[in-house]
């Protein structure tokens, strides 16, 4: 069973990578770009095949390791 964890910066936390991407895109002539934010996506391959259990595990993985609660939010998607 597979799970997708998407980790993004909390709103309000400054995002230099995102800002740089937006700038770069505009200088390249993509002037419809108002802004950009960059995040991480982590795909997990699990031996667990009970989606409920999987979701619970992944939640704990995200809290303990994958995301830093001080600056980041995360969302989980179970794919199987």
């Amino acid at each position: 069973m597979k799970a997708l964890v998407t980790v993004t910066l909390k709103t309000g936390v400054l995002d230099p990578q995102g800002a740089a991407i937006a700038n770069a895109l505009r200088t390249l002539g993509f002037d419809t770009v108002r802004g950009a934010r960059q995040g991480k996506i982590i795909e997990l391959d699990l031996t667990e095949d009970n989606p409920v259990k999987a979701e619970r595990d992944v939640e704990r993985m995200a809290e303990t390791l994958l995301a830093n609660g001080v600056i980041e939010d995360f969302t989980i998607e179970i794919l199987d």
Binding site: N23, A24, T27, L28, D45
Partner: protein, 743 residues
């Protein structure tokens, strides 16, 4: 997304059917008809698909040196200081007190052009591995980079990717990157050069070699798992680019400095434990080259069982495993009784450890996979009968005659040069490299040679990499000699005694006589200079086929050189204090042929390259060391391209105060300040009379030139505020790199 990469047990699906082996398939593997014929004769049967792959890897230019061997043999490679010359993973030179310096330079040109970050990163990883495979802990890295014209559409993306990749790998590994070279020239538009050098320290009595010994000993695979990375990469590195360069892209490998760092520590622990009989890193054409090299050097056979090879991907075939260039892997022959101990060390570092074969008595390279025999070849013949060519070579055409000098004042010309990417400050590059980790960097980037202390001693090593491709194009032999002479000069300028060199020979397609002529000429020059300056060649690398649609790079034989400071107190700084006398050591004729002045100001490569008098070069360098030994020299800078004006500007910028230099009434000011005559140094002294008389007793040309101090740089009648020069110099590269880059 892609399948997982660190699955523990890989289910083996049915391997795909192997293509039929014939002339055409051999050609696709880069084997010439006569080379394929040689294989048929050797085996007197057609090779299997896996065997064909093995031959193509062993016989391509990159591994066999078939075009260059004949000429490499002519290089001086011995001397009392040499512990191990060319032929091993890196050269080894004695530095006294039971210690040895281990170093080599290697190119990663094609991969870096295709994927700059990963190409450069894995290049650094590869050369670090070459050094610690010998039992040395890497203590410094350098890199020599050549890119196309600054305004070429790809140049900036290549530069930023390559620099980030070198830093990304070296910084995480934990080796200080202390020096190198950066040049721009349209000849590199289609082929950038990334030459990485690594320097390590080892106990002189604890060097490890690749020659296997003992029969029935375990052949052990260590480090990262094997994937399909760079399958066909060695072939790619020896192929001229065509329009299909894009198709070759998926063979690019990704580096993992964290695994390399663990591999380093685990290998050094393993070596200390006495378990290691012989060791060889898996570089180009990984398992194939390393296994064959270990067997061949030990005149033994090797039997491999590929079922034991740790794999990262599903259903890998024998062909793929034998040609994979996955990084961060090692092959070792171990003492059987130490196997458990060895395994424990690799468990400690969480690295793979697998017995994948054994040494055998017969001259045989036997590869088993899934119960089948995939290859059964005469091992010695694999490298022994590798083709060797004496390619036709033609002399280079003489350069265009020297035209009129530009209409410009020395001060204005200096501003133009310092504002150019070629002479602007390199801080934009080396601030992305950790140059102080290991806490032994005495002189980091931005000086003549870098100076790195030998940990726990008062000794230090001086390190530099140099070449002036413009000279090599105008006159290969002079250019080759000049590259060695300039490296020698950079070492002497720090007070170090030059020890030995590594060379990285970058050229175009050797099947073209004019290119082969450049190669032969440069090697002749390098050989002469290394003998005359007593700097034997102890290691190196050849990179050919650096051309795109028939347009070759400039001949670029990068010389990496290492010198020894017996005591840190002998170090000569670059920056003088205020109120000191300036002395010009060496004779000035105002040679402007092939000069930076002509090239940077009006893109003219005219006139002969500056002549190199090796006897004078050596006498001058030795005199400088002797004078410094008597406390007569307070600062020194070597003169190279850009001549006196550039050297003076760099010295002033380093000092943070001005210099005044007199013009030579009898000479055109441009020739005087920008001439590129060789064997010259700009010295500062607190006792000029004593220095001058000391030098004249040695029969050397030297003259009082001016003094240090004040807020300006004065060139004859022109004065330029140092603040202005500093501003121009500092902003040259940042200005070029300000705009974002695309991929």
């Amino acid at each position: 997304m892609a399948p997982m990469q660190d699955t523990e047990s890989v289910p083996r699906r049915a391997a795909p059917v192997e293509p039929e082996v014939n002339q055409a398939l051999a050609a696709e593997h880069g084997l010439k008809p006569e080379e394929y014929a040689r294989i048929l004769e050797l085996l007197d049967r057609p090779p299997s698909f896996t065997e064909l792959g093995i031959f193509s890897a062993m016989w391509n230019e990159h591994c066999s040196y078939k075009s260059s061997k004949k000429w490499l043999r002519t290089l001086p490679t011995t001397g009392p200081q040499v512990i191990c010359g060319p032929g091993e993973n890196a050269g080894v030179v004695d530095i006294g007190d039971g210690l040895a310096v281990v170093f080599k330079m290697e190119s990663h040109n094609h991969p870096s052009f295709i994927e700059p970050y990963q190409g450069a990163a894995t290049g650094v990883g590869g050369i670090l591995r070459d050094v610690f495979t010998m039992g040395a802990r890497p203590i410094a890295a350098l890199n020599a980079l050549s890119f196309g014209a600054p305004d070429h559409p790809r140049t900036r993306a290549l530069l930023s990717g390559v620099v980030a990749g070198i830093g990304g790998y070296g910084n995480a590994f934990g080796v200080p990157t202390v020096g190198g070279e950066l040049r721009f020239h349209p000849a590199y538009n289609g082929n950038c050069l990334v030459n990485a050098m690594a320097v390590g320290l080892a106990r002189a009595d604890a060097i490890f070699y690749s020659a296997a010994s003992g029969i029935g000993r375990p052949v052990v695979y260590l480090g990262a798992k094997t994937g399909r990375d760079g399958v066909g990469g060695a072939t790619m590195a020896s192929a001229e680019f065509g329009e299909d360069a894009e198709e070759k892209r998926p063979t690019v490998q990704v580096g993992d400095p964290f695994t390399e760092k663990r591999l380093l520590e685990a290998c050094l622990e393993l070596m200390a434990s006495g378990a290691v009989v012989s060791i060889q890193d898996m570089g180009a054409a990984g398992l194939t080259c390393s296994a064959v090299e270990m067997g061949d050097k030990g005149t033994l056979g090797v039997a491999l069982d590929l079922d034991a090879v740790p794999c990262r991907e599903d259903a890998m075939t024998a062909y793929e495993m034998m040609l994979s260039e996955s990084q961060e892997r090692m092959l070792m022959v171990l003492r059987p009784e130490k196997e458990a101990e060895a395994r424990a060390i690799f468990d400690k570092w969480d690295l793979d450890f697998a017995v994948v074969g054994e040494t055998i008595a017969e001259d045989r390279f036997l590869v088993r996979h899934g119960g089948d025999i995939k290859a059964d070849l005469p091992l010695a013949a694999l490298s022994g009968t590798a083709p060797e060519y004496d390619r036709p070579h033609a002399p280079s055409p003489p350069p265009a005659p020297l035209g009129p000098l530009p209409e410009i004042s020395p001060g204005a010309a200096l501003r133009r040069l310092l504002a150019s990417p070629s002479f602007g400050s390199r801080a934009w590059v080396w601030e992305q490299y950790d140059n102080t980790v290991m806490a032994d960097t005495v002189t980091g980037p931005g000086s003549d040679a870098a100076v790195v202390r030998v940990h726990g001693t008062e000794k230090a090593l001086a390190l530099t990499a140099d070449v002036t491709p413009r000279y090599c194009a105008a006159d290969p032999e002079t250019g080759g000699a000049q590259a060695v002479a300039e490296a020698y000069r950079n070492l002497c300028a720090t007070g170090a005694r030059p020890l030995a060199v590594t060379d990285n020979l970058n050229f175009g397609n050797p099947e073209r006589p004019e290119i082969m002529g450049q190669f032969v000429g440069c090697i002749r020059g390098i050989g002469r200079a290394c003998s005359a300056l007593d700097m034997p060649v102890v290691s190196g690398n050849v990179s050919l086929y650096n051309e795109t649609e028939g347009r070759a790079i400039l001949p670029t034989p990068t010389i990496g050189a290492v010198g020894l400071l017996e005591h840190l107190d002998n170090r000569i700084p670059l920056a003088p204090g205020p109120g000191e006398a300036l002395v010009l050591l060496g004779a000035t004729t105002g040679h402007l042929g092939q000069s930076a002045l002509l090239w940077e100001l009006d893109a003219r490569a005219e006139g002969p390259a500056p002549p190199v008098d090796l006897a004078v070069e050596r006498a001058t360098g030795e005199a400088l060391r002797a004078a410094a030994g008597q406390g007569l020299v307070s600062a020194a800078h070597d003169l190279s391209d850009g001549g006196l004006a550039i050297a003076a500007a760099e010295m002033a910028l380093a000092a943070g105060h001005g210099l005044s230099l007199e013009a030579e009434p009898a000479m055109d000011p441009l020739a005087w300040f920008f001439g590129e005559d060789q064997a010259r140094y700009l010295l500062a002294s607190r006792d000029a009379p004593a220095l001058l008389s000391f030098l004249s007793t040695r029969g050397l040309t030297a003259r009082l030139l001016g003094e240090t101090g004040g807020p300006c740089l004065r060139l004859g009648i022109e004065t330029i505020p140092l603040a202005e020069l500093s501003e121009i110099h500092r902003n040259a590269l940042p200005r070029l790199m300000a705009e974002p880059t695309t991929n």
